[in-house]
Amino acid sequence: MTQSSAPVIRVADLKKYYGDVKAVDGVSFEVARGEVFGMLGPNGAGKTSTIEVLEGLREPDSGNVEVLGLDICQHPESIKQRIGVQLQSVSLYPRLTVTELLDLFGSFFNHRVPTKQLIDALDLGERANAASMNLSGGQQQRLSIALALVNDPELIFLDEPTTGLDPQARRSLWDLVKGLQEKGKSVMLTTHYMEEAAELCDRVAIMDHGRILEMGTVPDLIGRRFKERAVFFDSNTKLPAERLGRLGGVTRATQEDGQTVLYSMDVPATIGGLLAMADELTFEPRNLGIRQATLEDVFLDLTGRALRD
């Protein structure tokens, strides 16, 4: 609030090793106040390790980490007073009710939002006196977010907030995050879902093997990598990669799970060449289609893996 232009997160060359495993291997980024920043990556990419260092749950092995202008190693307590944390798949004291849990967590902070207000904001009114173990998946996730908001935090960390939720619950969570941003909060989240990142995040970082591979706004990332459009089809057989690469207009080709994607500067030439090749090798390109490149393509291109859990 005082230094409104200063970044809420500043990470420089963060490293976190577990024995020989380089979970986080030299990561640097900043998150501006009021920004929703997303971290994308497959399981084991180092997203959770990074976010847990920022939350003060793990000590960094090296690097500088500042949260809300304070060094995480020197002022973990003051930082924890001002941030909100939602962890990946945490269940809470199973036999306490929603109200009791919010009261309990509120008591840990100097500054707190009234429980009633949180219950209303997260639409948990009907379940206020239900034990947390009796809540549905979506309700538990909303409770978990309500707990992250008990201290009216300036910066909120959400670790895979919609994993395991049905599409409707996911949508309502997205609206919630947008609402937080409208109130001037900063949010850092990790996700598996490209759609979620594209919908919510001002900027995303794509992470794999403990490093950030690319960072920027979603259109920026797509434009930077792909001036091409994507021609995609399914086939039963694996096709010779170098033949695909030599088709007219193709700049890059990937094959994953039976689906082939050809990135093309000249779509008609590519399709013409593809059909001729299909005739010659006697295969049938099924479900043939053309689309703009998406964040998914960026990810596939960067990591060589599809981002699915």
Partner: protein
């Protein structure tokens, strides 16, 4: 302080809403007291039933029966020899006394100056040493008295019985502090399970992301268990006093000190177990594996002197032996296994060592 209390209340609510936990912490020890109490409270004054076979059927034999019936320790059951033998084989009577035909005739001859004798037959089971001795003693005494009376001789040496109550405590009184020791051991060791569960579910980690200091999390856990220890003590002693009339004679302040020291020692053992266990299933299993031998090898349920040497030397290493001993000495003046100071020192030693190991190895996620 407020957060500490709030957290403890939250934990207490969690416990009281968990039926299984409630059962093991409160009902199980009380059940133990009731069960052991009912089993052992009757054993002190149980009577010996004796089968009575009268083959003479005269006034003389009726007189002998009266003499037996006057012995308070015995209950007589009359019948034919066959019936009584069957009853003894069933275990309904412990011995059979047979008065043969010719008793009155023999008495008459004796009074007339002719020598005559009749043998009372006594059936006993050699395997039941204690009963056999009692019945043999009674029969010999009565036979002797009968002989003297018939011959008109007054006894020179008689017995004048006086009573003096010894400090020998009843079995139930001995057992109640033992059951309390068992309950304290269980509540301490069993604390490992919810801890492992909270770690596995990420609750401990989630708490770590709040400004709540870790020591408060530990302190609230200790506070919760000490409250439960106090409740358990009141409950177990209460049932012992109300139902079985045991007498608490020791120094209550020192006894309370032992309750909390014991709970603390076993709680730190629970923390130590929680440091090395990863899953809830593991924890539930290991906790049983640890508490079972403690329960049976520590000799809390039978006097130390009755144990074989081998067991006794095992028991000397186990903390539960010293908690049981300390509680017995301070509550019911039981015979000591070790001096009170040694009991306290052993428990404090376990507490410090286990806590130190936990502090080094406990993982929060």
């Amino acid at each position: 302080m407020k957060t500490l209390l709030g957290l403890t209340v939250a934990n207490l609510k969690g416990l009281t809403r968990d039926r299984a936990a409630l059962f093991w912490t409160f009902f199980f020890p009380v059940m133990f007291v009731l069960l052991f109490g009912v089993l052992f409270s009757g054993s002190g004054d149980s009577k010996v039933s004796v089968g009575w076979v009268d083959q003479d059927g005269t006034q003389a034999s009726a007189g002998v029966r009266q003499a037996f019936a006057n012995v308070p320790l015995l209950t007589l059951q009359s019948g034919s020899l066959e019936d009584e033998k069957a009853a003894m084989q069933r275990g309904d009577v412990s011995a059979i006394v047979v008065v043969p035909k010719g008793l009155e005739a023999a008495v008459g001859q004796s009074k007339a100056g002719t020598q005559a004798s009749v043998a009372i037959e006594l059936y006993v089971d050699p395997a039941k040493t204690q009963t056999t001795q009692v019945v043999q003693g009674v029969v010999a005494q009565i036979a002797n008295g009968f002989n003297l009376t018939v011959m008109g001789v007054s006894p020179i040496l008689t017995i004048n019985q006086l009573t003096l109550t010894s400090t020998n405590i009843s079995t139930v009184t001995y057992l109640v502090p033992s059951i309390l020791a068992m309950a304290l051991m269980q509540l301490g060791i069993f604390a490992a399970v919810p801890l492992v569960q909270q770690r596995e579910k990420g609750i401990l980690k989630r708490m770590g992301a709040t400004p709540l200091p870790r020591w408060k999390l530990v302190a609230s856990n200790i506070l919760l268990r000490l409250i439960v220890a106090a409740l358990d003590t009141v409950l177990i002693l209460g049932v012992g006093i109300a139902v079985f009339k045991i007498q608490i004679v020791g120094n209550l302040a020192v006894a309370a000190g032992f309750v909390f020291l014991g709970a603390g020692a076993f709680l730190s053992l629970g923390f130590m177990l929680a440091s090395f266990l990863k899953t809830e299933e593991q924890a539930t299993g290991v906790v049983q594996v640890v508490q079972m031998p403690l329960m049976f090898l520590s000799g809390i349920f039978f006097p130390f002197d009755f144990m074989p040497d081998f067991l006794r030397s095992v028991a000397r290493f186990l903390p539960l032996t010293y908690l049981g001993d300390g509680l017995r000495q301070t509550m019911v003046n039981g015979t000591q296994i070790a001096p009170l100071a040694l009991d306290a020192a052993v428990l404090a030693g376990w507490l410090v060592v286990c806590l130190a190991i936990s502090a080094r190895s406990f993982r929060w996620d």
